[in-house]
Amino acid sequence: MNNSLLTRLVLHTVLYTVIALSLYLLYSPLNDHPKNKAGSSTQFVYQQF
């Protein structure tokens, strides 16, 4: 695996982890923000757009 591919792999892994963590933190039932009406981390998109 050359360097640029390795860099992309690492960057993508970091980016995807950040997105997944953000989604979990934003929509988890642990987040008691009044706009978090989801109630479950797997139901994050239930909020009306």
Partner: protein, 382 residues
């Protein structure tokens, strides 16, 4: 269920990606459109609210285009345009009553109207109307039916004809990346702005600092929200073998109004240019009284185009005024650009370093657009 409004929608989209990828191995390339029609039909009938309203619109517009273009060969297209846009105009002008309220409005009406009107205008008189399955797919392609981008028939048809062949690993990866980008834009960035930035000061506040905060927060919110939808639609489309046009490319770095509309809701800007601005400009060019004033012609057409864009969102003060303000920006820039060309020099910045001019232009336009969208948001209380 409306597209992108629930978690189940994404499960359905996963099936929409998987089914054509599996059927690709058993079916002929020309059968792709029927697979797509089946999927779109299934989504509409099982999950979509008021599906029969949407089907009625598809039948109404298809029949009208066939009758006016193929059967009667009507040369003056204005009657066809008015008849095609009739359902949308009834809603926009709020001319409804009695039983009509049961039928209008319904989800997807505006974007479908934009699409079939574009097809009617582009269709050559000698050209036969497209296959009904392709027409249905064009209007009801699930990822784009509600939030755009506004596709064109020629482009969509070419993509559909190549559907099975476009289901490749490369397209899947590119589509997945666009989808994740959209997911991050809409469900992380826009949501963070909405929860923790946009509403930190009362909306009714008339303090300059509070208003400036809401103005900038709304601009970023609107971009991430709308661009998020567009990237998700683009990504799902690509994974299914349909290439959806890009609708947003870094609008914050636009240097002037024309440049901005090549970066922000590109498909709407192109649609308005092709089907309103250009015909209006050509119409005025034929008028004797306007022949001597090409700049005035351009400016009137530009202003009316943006005013129409504002009105399309609804006949409310904030929409109409924001359209007029955006129109004014374009008129001022157009006059400035023509003056620069005429005099062979920059009439405002003179001999200033081009890099400095670019930075100033980006900064100015960013603030001007943020202000226009602040009016659009209806959050500006004076």
């Amino acid at each position: 269920m409306l597209p992108f409004s629930s978690f189940e929608f994404f499960i359905i989209m996963a099936l929409f990606v998987m089914i054509p990828a599996i059927l690709k191995n058993f079916m002929k390339p020309e059968h792709y459109k029927y697979v797509l029609a089946f999927l779109n039909f299934a989504f509409l009938t099982i999950w979509f609210p008021q599906p029969w309203h949407f089907f009625a619109l598809v039948v109404y517009s298809y029949f009208l285009i066939w009758l006016l273009s193929d059967k009667l060969n009507v040369q003056n297209r204005i009657y066809g345009v008015l008849l095609l846009l009739l359902p949308m105009l009834l809603v926009k002008f709020d001319i409804r009553g009695g039983d009509m309220n049961k039928w209008l409005p319904f989800a997807g009406l505006s974007y479908a109207s934009f699409r079939f009107m574009g097809y009617y205008m582009d269709k050559a008189p000698e050209e036969k109307i497209v296959n009904v399955a392709s027409y249905f797919n064009f209007l009801s392609f699930t990822p784009t039916m509600l939030i755009g981008p506004i596709d064109r028939m020629n482009r969509f048809k070419a993509s559909e004809d190549n559907g099975f062949a476009a289901i490749t690993t490369d397209n899947f990866i590119a589509g997945w990346n666009a989808f994740v980008k959209g997911l991050a834009f809409k469900y992380v960035c826009a949501e963070l702005i909405d929860r923790y930035w946009l509403n930190i000061f009362p909306e009714e506040s008339t303090e300059l600092l509070h208003m400036a905060n809401t103005m900038y927060a709304y601009y970023f919110y609107l971009f991430f929200d709308f661009a998020g939808y567009s990237f998700m639609a683009l990504g799902i489309g690509k994974m299914m073998g349909i290439i959806v046009p890009v609708n947003f490319t870094n609008p914050f770095f636009a240097r002037n109004p024309p440049d901005f509309w090549k970066r922000f809701h590109i498909s709407l800007g192109d649609w308005l240019k092709d089907y309103f601005f250009t015909p209006l400009y050509l119409f005025m060019s034929r008028k004797k009284s306007m022949k001597k004033y090409p700049v005035t012609r351009q400016n009137i057409a530009l202003f009316l185009t943006f005013l129409l864009m504002g009105c399309w969102n609804g006949f409310r003060g904030n929409f109409v005024i924001s359209g007029a303000v955006l129109g004014l920006y374009s008129v001022v820039y157009n006059t400035y650009a023509i003056q620069c060309k005429k005099k062979g020099r920059d009439v405002v910045f003179g001999n200033m370093n081009p890099k400095v001019v670019t930075v100033i232009s980006i900064f100015m336009l960013f603030n001007l657009i943020a202000f226009a969208l602040y009016i659009f948001s209806g959050k500006l209380h004076i």
